[in-house]
Amino acid sequence: MSSREEIIRALQEVKVPDKAYPGAFTAQVVGVDTLTDFLHSMVVVSTTVIQVKEAADASQALDKHFPNMQRVRLNPLADGLSLADIDVLEIDGDFAVAENGAIWLDDSNLPHRVAPFICQHLVIYVSQKNLLPTLQEAYIRLGDKQTGFGVFLSGPSKTADIEQSLVIGAHGARSLVVVLTEC
């Protein structure tokens, strides 16, 4: 008998009283409004927000924020290693969550799965229209979308493993700028 069969049989032999699935959970929305809550979460996760009408309007502010650094947008590429030298990577986020600042990125936005982690600094464009109050609405929005890889990303990488002092910039991006567009 294979281990698979042994494990399944052992589990089937245990008589566990049946417990019903509780059904979907509906979140109680309480914050001020989605935009205010999102901006607040961005402060909590050490992220700079640039609010503009259209994406193109952000370029001056970004020039100022990243002086003398090259910012790039990339088409899908096969080799993740080549991204290690990128200073600032710009990508589009699908939608974002107000209660925790998480932005959904998946294979359809990413030039390579490692891109948002390996670049030194990251810029994500999100439309204000795509702000959702809680993670629960986010999963409803995601539905059964099939994607090979997807991530809820909230802020730049960080650690507090040395004496609980917060250090921004562990292994992933050292900083995050979110460009929030009106349309």
């Binding site: 390996i118 629960q136 991530v151 960080k158 040395i162």
Partner: protein, 453 residues
């Protein structure tokens, strides 16, 4: 091996460090309180999470098979391991196929439970732990003392010294920012060179065959996305039925663990990248046995947030290593006797049964009750620590005889006031770290008789 009480005694010899440890973990616990209070539906979320997990446990084989089928359809290779040894063999055989001698690994309590590092090192494989805290303890040839904060038993001076020895940072530099940067540079090199990456799994979704890994540092993703082979190792209880359940668990996990709104990265892996191999190892290692124990089944609901550690007055003052188990703290003390009752007989007694753990647990495990159940079980089997058995028998006899109880109380009060050194000495474990209270002049019964009759 030292038992919990002996190891704790060593831990508390440095008063200043003990206090720091205690205060720091309490601070993390307070952050959890603040984060949870921001959500008015917190209690409803805990209840929902608990019910989802109980439902999962009552249908575990079906969900595992559903997960396997979906994951395979997604192009993931699924393996099953009965025990730690088989898990290690499977992982090694995958590595061997690719002929690599080094790999990167992000945090996985399961691989700690299986002692994977030691197994692979013996086979000549260089395992690089990439979580900063885990890398620190790995350099020091220690094990994590906390499942979320692996190096919480260390001070920055210790880390500075360790990095000086292993990474050549300047002696005496203990700046966390500087040391983290040194680790970033050191580990980037490892990420860029590794062909095989191992990660843990926080949640695996039966409905979609995807699994979710949560980190703040981004180390799991750096490893997985740069490698040719990604091996994810998980205990079979990590299954959840539906994708929508992630909304519940991800709202609870980071808030309970560190008081964060969510971890920086909640990565959903469904299919390997083009040209990549993705493997999942499903591990039983005693879980089916625990499932069969009615009193302890619910311990399998655990999502490893460590809130029960941070709130525990015993953990905070004894340190994770005193539990001599990969998972320490209150939940570890319930899981450990399932692996080996005799070797872990001390752990269910390493608790005040105050119940704080059960109150903070995001999946509502009755942790303190289960600790008490284990005590009864271990007493019944004659495994309980000798001192406890004699003391408890005496106590039981005294409590069931009112006249003896009255007499003993009276004698005790007199003895304590006439000969205080008899209790205020090193022989009495309750006197360690404490002042004994002055004995009351009267018992409650005596007071009641003279005042109420």
């Amino acid at each position: 091996m030292l038992n919990h009480a002996e190891a704790s005694e060593k831990f508390i010899t440095n008063q200043e460090r003990t206090d720091w440890h205690d205060d720091t973990l309490w601070f993390v616990r307070s952050k959890r309180d603040k984060a949870s209070k921001l959500l008015p539906e917190w209690e409803a979320l805990r209840e929902q999470a608990s019910q989802i997990k109980e439902h999962m446990l009552s249908n575990l084989p079906q969900y595992l098979l559903e997960f396997e089928a979906k994951a395979q359809a997604n192009g993931i290779q699924v393996h099953w391991a009965k025990d730690a040894h088989e898990h290690n063999e499977i992982v090694y055989s995958i590595i061997q196929k690719h002929g690599d001698k080094a790999l990167v690994k992000s945090k996985s309590m399961l691989t700690e439970e299986c002692h994977l590092n030691a197994y692979l090192e013996q086979k000549g494989i260089d395992v690089v732990d990439t979580d900063l805290g885990e890398r620190i303890v790995q350099f020091r040839k220690e094990v994590p003392s906390h499942i979320v904060l692996p190096a919480i038993h260390l001070k920055k001076e210790d880390v500075g010294e360790t990095f000086h020895q292993h990474l050549g940072t300047p002696k005496g530099n203990k700046d966390p920012q500087f040391l983290t940067e040194a680790a970033r540079i050191h580990l980037r090199e490892k990420f860029l060179g590794a062909k095989v990456a191992i990660t843990g799994v926080n949640f695996a979704v039966a409905e979609t065959g995807e699994f979710v890994v949560c980190t703040n540092e981004g180390n799991a993703d750096m490893g997985a996305h740069l490698s040719d082979v990604h091996i994810a190792c998980m205990g079979i209880e990590k299954i959840i039925p539906k994708r929508q359940d992630l909304g519940v668990f991800l709202r609870l996990l980071a808030r309970s663990a560190t008081g964060q709104l969510i971890t920086t990265y909640s990565s959903h892996f469904a299919k390997p990248r083009a040209g990549q191999e993705m493997h999942i190892v499903l591990v039983d290692n005693g879980r089916s046995r625990q499932l069969a124990r009615d009193e302890f089944r619910n311990s399998l609901k655990c999502i490893r947030c460590a809130a029960c550690f941070n709130t525990c007055p015993v953990y905070r003052r004894s340190g994770g290593h005193s539990y001599h188990q990969p998972v320490a703290g209150p939940i570890g003390s319930i899981l450990a006797p399932n692996f080996d009752k005799k070797a872990n007989v001390d752990l269910p007694f390493a608790s005040t049964l105050c119940g704080s753990c059960s109150n903070v647990c995001p999946v509502k495990i009755n942790i303190h009750e289960q600790l008490w159940f284990w005590r009864q079980d271990l007493m019944k089997e004659g495994l309980a620590p000798a001192g406890k058995v004699l003391g408890m028998k005496l106590m039981a006899w005294m409590m069931s005889n009112p006249s003896v109880f009255r007499l003993a109380g009276g004698i005790g009060r007199k003895v304590m006031s006439w000969f205080p050194f008899l209790v205020n000495n090193g022989m009495n474990p309750w006197f360690k770290q404490r002042e004994m209270p002055a004995p009351p002049k009267q018992s409650f019964q005596e007071w009641y008789k003279s005042n109420r009759s």
